[in-house]
Assembly symmetry: C2
Homo-oligomer: 138 residues x 2
């Protein structure tokens, strides 16, 4: 996700209205590296916006995903996690505490992925998911 100003500028230019609900979700996500679920976002924002609806959280997340400001991650069976990261990166999932840790290219010099084609198929994007035990659980 870009800065607050950049993000709301993009919303505006795409014709979306700036509602307090949307702004609160955006503020919640900027700089958030915890990969929250929709349920967690809803629960946390509900304190400040008691009338907030679940649908609104989902609608906002879907909208932000459509314009590329967040990414949904299918790392677990039953729910999605949302990642406000915009630059390409990978993820580490701890099998003990289930935390999701961003792995940026600068910290992953040993990760090298092909570009262009693989077995005749044209690659447009690639994502790596590591699983194991995180540093805190070790």
């Amino acid at each position: 996700m870009h800065s607050f100003e950049t993000t709301i500028g993009r919303l505006r230019s795409e014709g979306f209205k700036l509602t307090p609900q949307r702004l609160s979700v955006i503020r919640y996500l900027i700089g958030n590296t915890s990969h929250p679920t929709a349920a967690v976002i809803y629960k946390d924002l509900k304190r400040k916006y008691p009338s907030l609806s679940f649908s609104t959280v989902y609608n906002t997340l879907n909208m932000l995903e459509k314009i590329g400001e967040v990414q949904s991650l299918h790392l677990f069976d039953d729910f999605l996690n949302y990642d406000p990261g915009t630059e390409a990166h990978h993820h580490f999932v701890c099998r003990s505490c289930n935390s999701i840790i961003d792995i940026f290219p600068r910290d992953a010099e040993n990760v090298s992925l092909p570009e262009g084609d693989i077995s005749g198929n044209r690659i447009e994007s690639a994502q790596v998911v590591f699983k194991g035990m995180c540093r805190n659980c070790l």
Copy 2:
């Protein structure tokens, strides 16, 4: 998934009974590289076993996953795909035809992933998902 004999041997040794339904699912999956969903497996086997139940397909798949004979893949939003591959490999997902293509290490010499630790987290497994256009859709 291993050979038919090896797989049913593992079932037997784990204390599972060998029922015609389970054998049919196992036979269906061995050598199958199409990454079928539970729904597709059910539909196909229903012709030969008209009394087959959806639960049985799911139960069998979950059992096979528990003993490591299949792997469930969360590549799409609304359903799981099942992969009888046992050796480590990656996947290519076509955004046009939605097909899932196995990418084995021998075909992916440009893929290199770290082993051991990354940023202090201990890696136990790693999976790459490529997205793009498959050779047939190009």
